[in-house]
């Protein structure tokens, strides 16, 4: 059976979902449900002591979903490592989605600090899933130091622009021996399908599900898009051509031939 294996753990779904920015916890739960996902990401933030909201954990069935904390907000390796340790101390498995994004405007990952943090966290026994630029050489180096996956970006977080880094993602997929999860910028099921058709092992989506009137329907649409792309990749896609190929026989009887 076609499964996604990360750090020795098998998953039947190749769609990871984020839990940010949903209009309501119910929308978030519905989206998770309809996405078929088995891995959901969460972030860490200060409690507002003056009016503590209830915890997001109250809404996530951790028997059903693997909780994947991220280090969002970290601007350098040190901050990312600190967040990773806090997440583990909070009782999560030592899985961490590593994010180091110094620029608040485009939220693009820092290759140097991401690499530095990954080295530390791998040594500390974390299963590291690094969010990274679509940089094939960096992907190789992260694989070499022992990250569990690479998570190259399709486009900046939340832009819904699709796999704008297509050429580089293709090289990363070609050269990787660990799962390649396309993260960030996927705004439509066709984007997710495209990534999977290219041979990506999985995709992560958040904004596209939160940023719609109907999160549950969109989550199901992405689920189908991911499955469609994966199944097409496994079946073997036809090659692109310049010249047309008649799909009907060019029948002769019309001319006096």
């Amino acid at each position: 059976m076609d499964q996604l294996i990360i750090a020795g753990r098998a998953f039947n779904s190749r769609l990871l979902v984020g839990t940010g920015k949903f209009a309501s916890n119910q929308d978030m739960v519905d989206a998770m449900e309809h996405s078929g996902s088995e891995i959901v990401t969460v972030a860490l933030r200060r409690v507002d002591i003056d009016n503590p909201e209830d915890s997001i954990l109250a809404h996530i069935d951790t028997d059903r979903y693997l909780l994947l904390p991220n280090t969002s907000g970290a601007r350098d390796a040190e901050e990312a490592v600190r967040l990773a340790r806090l997440a583990r101390a909070a009782g999560c498995l030592p899985w961490i989605k590593l994010e180091v994004t110094p620029d608040p405007y485009y939220l693009l990952p820092d290759p140097i600090e991401t690499f530095k943090a990954a080295e530390i966290l791998v040594k500390e026994g974390f299963v590291v899933l690094p969010y990274m630029p679509a940089d094939p050489v960096l992907a190789k180096r992260l694989e070499e130091i022992g990250t569990a996956t690479v998570m190259p970006l399709g486009a900046p977080i939340g832009t819904n622009r699709g796999v704008k880094t297509r050429d580089h993602i293709a090289i990363i997929i070609e050269q990787a021996n660990i799962p390649v999860i396309v993260d960030a910028g996927l705004g439509a099921p066709s984007h997710a399908a495209e990534a999977m058709e290219m041979g990506a092992d999985a995709v992560l989506v958040n904004t596209a599900l939160a940023d719609t009137a109907n999160s549950a329907a969109m989550a199901q649409a992405f689920r189908k898009g991911v499955e469609a792309g994966r199944e097409a990749y496994l079946a073997g896609l036809g090659t692109k051509r310049i010249k047309a190929e008649a799909s009907s026989p060019l029948t002769g009887f019309l001319r006096n031939e």
Binding site: G18, T19, R45, L57, S72
Partner: protein, 66 residues
Amino acid sequence: MELTINGSNKEYQDKITVQQLLQLSNISPGRVVIELNRNILSPDMHDKTELRHGDTIELIQFVGGG
């Protein structure tokens, strides 16, 4: 006694433990992770740990994120 909790200063008359602080703030221990002066404090230390003047406490929880 003054404490810095999540970045803001708070005055407390009497000595309190971390556990008491959580109670006072209506925060169930299960859902937060705590840094005391930049060191992570494991849950079993909550009641054993008395806060001192000048301590810096971070109360962190999970929220939605991508």
